[in-house]
Symmetry: C2
Subunit: 365 residues, 2 copies
């Protein structure tokens, strides 16, 4: 099935697995990880699955000082008949390479990376939780490890994949959240790194998120950094509005992340023949639609929550309640259909789902 | 002299020191480093000077994924009579705390950090190069180490100081460099992290720098991310222009770094009664001044190069030569006076220089 050689060194001890109903997000990691090293002139070498353990990195490594790093996030689900399913994983590998290009980091072989990911999941298959709403979160990432304080692209990198069993994003099922529109802080601006999945964008967002938390809001809605008028994203999610029967989402403008859930939702909506447009949308327009009674729904989209309905927006202390604070019909349908396809419970007319079958290499361990 | 207890564990082997005339920037590190750990609720603990060695950090640590990190850069010089001198180190500790605030990271005790730095330098004193133009570069930095993939401020950090003997920034003495004005990429924008010394800003700048390198330019001049008109910084330096007898530098606008060299130069210029203003300055104004013959000098300022005269600017393929491509009188004077004060060769009327005297703790090792 593959001729991509990965060395496997299994852990001698096995960690205790958390109970399905006590799972949080990203706190517990499986017994193994995948690692490969990159050296300029040599390329990627020493592809290996090894016990999950601390990385040994020189204190002068680029990652600690100049943030040369990219990452991805996707999920594996246990479907019917115990099949292990991935949702559009090739899109994550493609985006990782796009992010790397922006950060002057080396490209990975997307097929090999996907194969590495599948082998790692197979090794740690017992860790995939099976309760409804749970999944195995997969975090591929690359960091620059060259010990050099000059501000220039590093010549050494590590590509790593770690796995974390995660609980349902909503303990009580899908429910609307309160969002604070951010006026002071900016996540990203065109010409910056907003389209790349790289550390600095998330570091930049922490302060506003902290303030939102304190005020009782679950996420921040980011406005553009130039005019502070146009809607960008919601926390770490893309955002959609349903206004007067039409679904609207901010266009890919060079500062927002090209979400894979966003892309899938656009494909679903077009498949269903619901009017949709990707364009600039101002916060004023959303408030105006609310005033005139045409703002029907609002929701965020991303791998973690899939679809996250917005029940309240607060912009400069003016609060609006969306859809009576209830989950809208379209939000609910998108959530149900997407999670249904992801877990194999619904038919997949788009070919989005990939099954992880055990490969020869792993079988021979 | 101090009652700040630092444990010292000396290296059993000593690395070979590079020859003074072969020193590069940030490639070689001394035998020891300072490390302290932070745990939420407990504060900073386990302050120690230990052999320089790889850090062991969990692959899920915040630093690798969400870039929660800040750093500083300053230099120690061997002055007359073998005295070890630091230039305004308390300003670096202050700025580190300001950066940490923006990144939702814990504050350090500035006095203790300075004491740690002095003790570390004392332990590795033999590493300070003595040839003219060389120095010991000091890199304090803090990284978030909590293994958690949620996007929120970490609860665990490491504060580390490493030391690197560095050569003269200009092998052939101070000389003018060629600068490319950047139109596509943006370093930072108000509301972002530009005023903090944090990794993401440097990661964002790599791509433009790479393009500038390829075109034969030594640094990029950053324009503002909103109107793409106003001058921000030059590479990792603040920037000054002398136009018609007046010195002009971009004001602190929320997106540029508050350089300590910038601050010192402003103080010197005011001390010398030369007209100076901190204000918005557009690239168009600089080109216009050149056309009318009033652009007298341009230079970058920062810890690494101290003062770096600009000999050529290229904006949208229109090149202008500043001061006939020669080092201007003011640039030269500022360089000579600043480096003179830093190395103790000139009198220090401002109280900028701090001597590192050996402390009781280190003596007792
Ligand atoms: C900033 C940001 N926006 C949007 C998304 C949604 O992307 P995706 O649907 O690929 O998960 C994410 C992450 O997942 C993100 O980090
Ligand atoms: C982005 C940036 N601007 C300006 C400077 C100059 O600051 P300082 O004079 O404190 O070294 C630096 C760094 O040293 C920097 O990284």
């Amino acid at each position: 099935m593959t001729n991509y050689p990965i060395q496997v060194r299994l852990s001698e001890t096995k960690k205790q697995k958390p109970l399905s109903d006590q799972l949080e997000f990203g706190r517990v990691f499986t017994d193994h990880m995948f690692v490969a090293d990159y050296f300029e002139g040599e390329g990627w070498v020493d592809h290996r699955i090894v016990p999950y353990e601390p990385l040994q990195i020189d204190p002068a490594a680029t990652i600690f000082h100049y943030g040369q790093t990219v990452f991805e996030g996707l999920k594996a689900y246990i479907g019917k008949d115990g099949k292990v399913l991935l949702f559009r994983p090739e899109e994550n590998m493609l985006r990782m390479n796009k992010s790397s290009e922006r950060l002057c980091m080396p490209q990975i072989d997307e097929e090999n990376a996907l194969e590495a990911l599948k082998q790692l999941i197979t090794v740690d298959k017992e860790w995939i939780p099976t309760t409804e709403g749970t999944s195995l979160y997969i975090r591929p990432f690359m960091v620059a490890t060259e010990p050099y304080l000059g501000v220039s692209p590093a010549k050494k990198y590590k590509f790593i994949i770690i796995l974390s069993p995660v609980g349902s994003y909503y303990k009580e099922g899908i429910h609307p959240v309160k969002i604070l529109v951010e006026n002071e802080y900016v996540r990203a601006v065109a010409g910056g790194t907003g389209t790349a999945k790289t550390a600095g964008n998330y570091a930049a967002g922490l302060r506003a998120q902290e303030i939102a938390d304190r005020k009782g809001y679950s996420q921040v809605l980011w406005l553009d950094g130039v005019e502070r008028k146009y809607i960008e994203e919601v926390g770490s999610m893309n955002v959609f509005f349903k206004i007067n029967g039409e679904v609207v989402t901010p266009m890919l403008n060079g500062s927002i992340l090209e979400g894979i859930t966003r892309k899938s939702i656009l494909e679903l909506i077009r498949y269903w023949d619901i009017p949709v447009s990707e364009r600039r949308i101002s916060i004023e327009e959303v408030y105006e639609a609310h005033r005139s009674g045409t703002l029907e729904e609002a929701f965020g989209t991303g791998t973690a929550a899939v679809v996250s309905p917005i029940g309240e927006l607060n912009w400069r202390d003016e609060k609006i309640i969306v859809n009576n604070g209830e989950t809208g019909e379209l939000s609910k349908k998108l959530y149900d259909v997407l999670t249904g396809i992801q877990t194999g419970e619904l038919e997949d007319p788009f070919g989005w789902v990939t099954e992880v079958t055990e490969t020869a290499v792993v079988k021979s361990v």
